[in-house]
Amino acid sequence: MDVLSDEQEALIQRTAGEFLAAECPPSLVRAVEKSEEKYSKQLWTKFADLGWLGLCLPEEQGGQGLPLTYLGLVLEEVGRYLAPLPVHSTMVPALVLASFGTPVQMKLLERVACGELLLSFGIVERSGRWSTDAIALSGRRDGNDIVLNGSKYFVDNFRIAQKCMVAVRMFGADGGDEGPAAVLVDTASAGIHCEPLLTTAKDGESVVRFDDVRVPQSNRVGAPRQGRAAVDALMDYASVFLVSQMQGAARRAMEFAVEYVKHREAFGQPIGAFQAIQHMAADMVNAVDGTQLLGREAVWRLSRGLPARVEVAQAKSFANEKCLMVCRSAQQMHGGIGFIAEFDLNLWYRRVTSWTLRGGTTYEHRARIASALLDTPGEVRLGRALELPAAAPD
């Protein structure tokens, strides 16, 4: 047991941070908000060239084969600098491919590792619910094809991605329900309609409609029996790496605020000398540290191949409330200035508000934790991992 970063982990995180500190000033973040693509192609190229994308991809596909924890650390930095890069939307499905993909699908990872292939993924539908049960987009088998019908909501970076991993409900040619599965779809396929959304994050989410979109059966991710596991993994990666980003961003907002109140004078002294402000800051420390510990434990378990659905749910439910509190407190500590558009702090606040609402709400994640606590046999004990019953909500 040693929950702190080891030397190599600290080095990689620091290096990623230094790169983004230099290359990704708030002005870039702001410029990208106004762009059509909602990402910086130039920064993406540099980022990929440095090998960050391949960090945790298999060595056979040109990656470095490091544990997932490294990607978590890099995403903390991506969050910290609000890097306008499709790292999350690309790496989440890429990792699902790395775990479940067929050899042909695995080959795609070579292009992911070098930054050539941008990915996205679609899970949530009109209900807005983060749940396998809520997946209604149908994938009907038809000869060698799968025919997709339905809509995905809140799909990040669909417009710039070449492929999208879509969580579907499979149906046989006879109409029989075959359960959830993940299917890779070319974003340029006929029958796709994409409607951009305008979110508080001002990033690249869309609603994507699939009208009789045909993809070959070979685009289904993994073996037929692994459909549910692949969708589960897709959802867990999506949630937990959002936590990494949120925590990095919230920590940065806290640092801005602490720095600000050390110098901002009122009532004859720096307002950071007032106990009320200091105590607010202390609570912010615990909120981001708690998020960090929960998030890193979940990623660590995933990196070891251990069951981690409960840990992911813990991390995301906690992060939703706490990271928003941190960013809101940072705004409050800045007084009126944080409300002014041109002041950078609100870039962090606006993104974190969005991220708290994606990848599962607090209610949804707590329902999963409760199921592991209460719908299982035997007594619980903190420190002993919980397992979810088969019929758990997700």
């Binding site: 807005g128 305008l198 009122a266 009320a276 609100n346 508000t353 209610y363």
Partner: protein, 404 residues
């Protein structure tokens, strides 16, 4: 102890509602929105205000001798509530300028500003904050130097919301250059068209896209106002020279309570309940969710406390009493309720709560998302909740000041 409005007050409310139902047509509403967006007043809106004026609802609680109706504080509240609810119009007699003029002004000032405000020919913006002092008004540096019968003003104000539309600024300045803190401050009522005044817009995070109606702190714009050798007659002085702190305090207290402050804190409670009870996509099913039901009941109860604290303030004022701590206490509870409610609602609505005004699929024009952007402002503006807590403890409970 009486928790009901009187029959007369209920009758007034019914009249206003009937008026609004009849007169606030979609066309009028459109002109009001256009006016708020800076496109000037349309003819229908002008007629609408004239009708309100004729009914005596503009400045309903102001004295009859200055053109008001001399009605009580509850009548004023009812006018304010109904017009704000109907069209986010601030009507009835609260706000920054006139109450202070009535409290501290000369007879001449009252005769000029009160009827002018009732006719909506005069309107005030508030010139308190400066770049280096937001909450700590005692640190004000903007100075007005007296030269016989004139003042020459130099300095800067910030967060002067509405400066672009106001005819006057209610300006706090330092008139005694050697004074410190609260001493040596004065209030001047300065026409905004005086030479030497420059307004620079500060666009807020609610500006792009513009926040929809009913957003808490949905103002797309506030301003910096610069004063460069601005010359005004000494008759602009409100109250005695050097007495600005005392003049402003009472105004601030009234600013922290009342219908507007109450409604911006609680309208979202009503909005979310009314949305959930419709039980339509994409929120269908939430109506039956015991977790959501429990949370809505909690928020509703907190909202009731906002309402009751407002009623307490009005009762106190109506009795002619002064606030001991009640105004400050309300200015903690209501804004923080607003923040709690906004954040809780966002987790109920999930990803829909991030969709801004104009986005496809936004719920209620994105008001819940825009509230996320604005709610915390309410804990900062017009006295931060930290300063308010200091005041409750010190003035309300007599707790001692820290020494070193």
């Amino acid at each position: 102890m009486d928790f009901a409005f009187t029959e007369d007050e209920e009758r007034l409310r019914a009249e206003i509602k009937a008026f609004i139902a009849r007169q606030l047509t979609p066309e009028v509403k459109a002109q009001l929105i256009a006016e708020r967006e800076g496109h000037g007043r349309g003819p229908l809106a002008a007629a609408f205000f004239r009708d309100i004026y004729e009914r005596g609802w503009l400045g309903v609680s102001w004295p009859k001798q200055y053109g008001g109706q001399g009605a009580n504080r509850f009548a004023q509240y009812i006018v304010e509530e109904e017009f704000y609810r109907a069209a986010q119009l601030v009507i009835g007699g609260g706000g920054t300028g006139v109450p202070a003029v009535l409290a501290a002004g000369t007879e001449e000032q009252k005769r000029y500003y009160v009827p002018g405000s009732i006719r909506r020919e005069i309107s005030f913006c508030q010139g308190y904050s400066e770049p280096h002092c937001g909450t700590d008004l005692a640190g004000i540096r903007c100075r007005a130097t007296r030269h016989g019968e004139i003042f020459i003003i130099n300095g800067q104000k910030i967060y002067t919301t509405g400066a672009q539309a106001a005819t006057h600024i209610y300006l706090m300045v330092r008139t005694d250059p050697n004074s410190k803190r609260q001493a040596g401050l004065s209030i001047l009522l300065v026409p905004m068209n005086t030479p030497g005044i420059t307004i620079r817009p500060l666009w807020t995070i609610q500006s792009d896209p513009p926040a929809p109606p009913k957003t808490t702190y949905g103002e797309p714009r506030t301003n910096e106002v610069f004063f460069d050798n601005v010359e005004v007659p000494a008759t602009c002085l409100l109250g005695a020279e050097g007495d600005g702190w005392a003049v402003a305090q009472r105004g601030l207290n009234l600013d922290r309570v009342g219908a507007w402050r109450y409604l911006i804190s609680v309208m979202r409670d009503e909005d979310i309940v009314n949305l959930i009870k419709k039980d339509e996509p994409p929120t269908e099913g939430l109506r039956q969710d015991p977790r959501v039901r429990d949370k809505l009941a909690e928020l509703w109860t907190e909202g009731q406390v906002c309402r009751l604290m407002t009623m307490r303030s009005l009762s106190l004022e109506q009795r002619g009493g002064r606030f001991k701590y009640e105004g400050s206490a309300e200015k903690i509870w209501a804004p923080e309720h607003g923040v709690r409610a906004t954040e809780a609602i966002s987790q109920i609505l999930g990803p829909y709560a991030q969709l801004l005004n104009g986005s496809p699929h936004a719920i209620n024009n994105g008001v819940f998302a825009h509230n996320l952007l604005g709610a915390f402002q309410s804990t900062v503006n017009h006295g931060s909740v930290q300063v308010m807590r200091d005041q409750v403890a010190r003035k309300g409970l007599g707790m001692p000041k820290q020494r070193n």
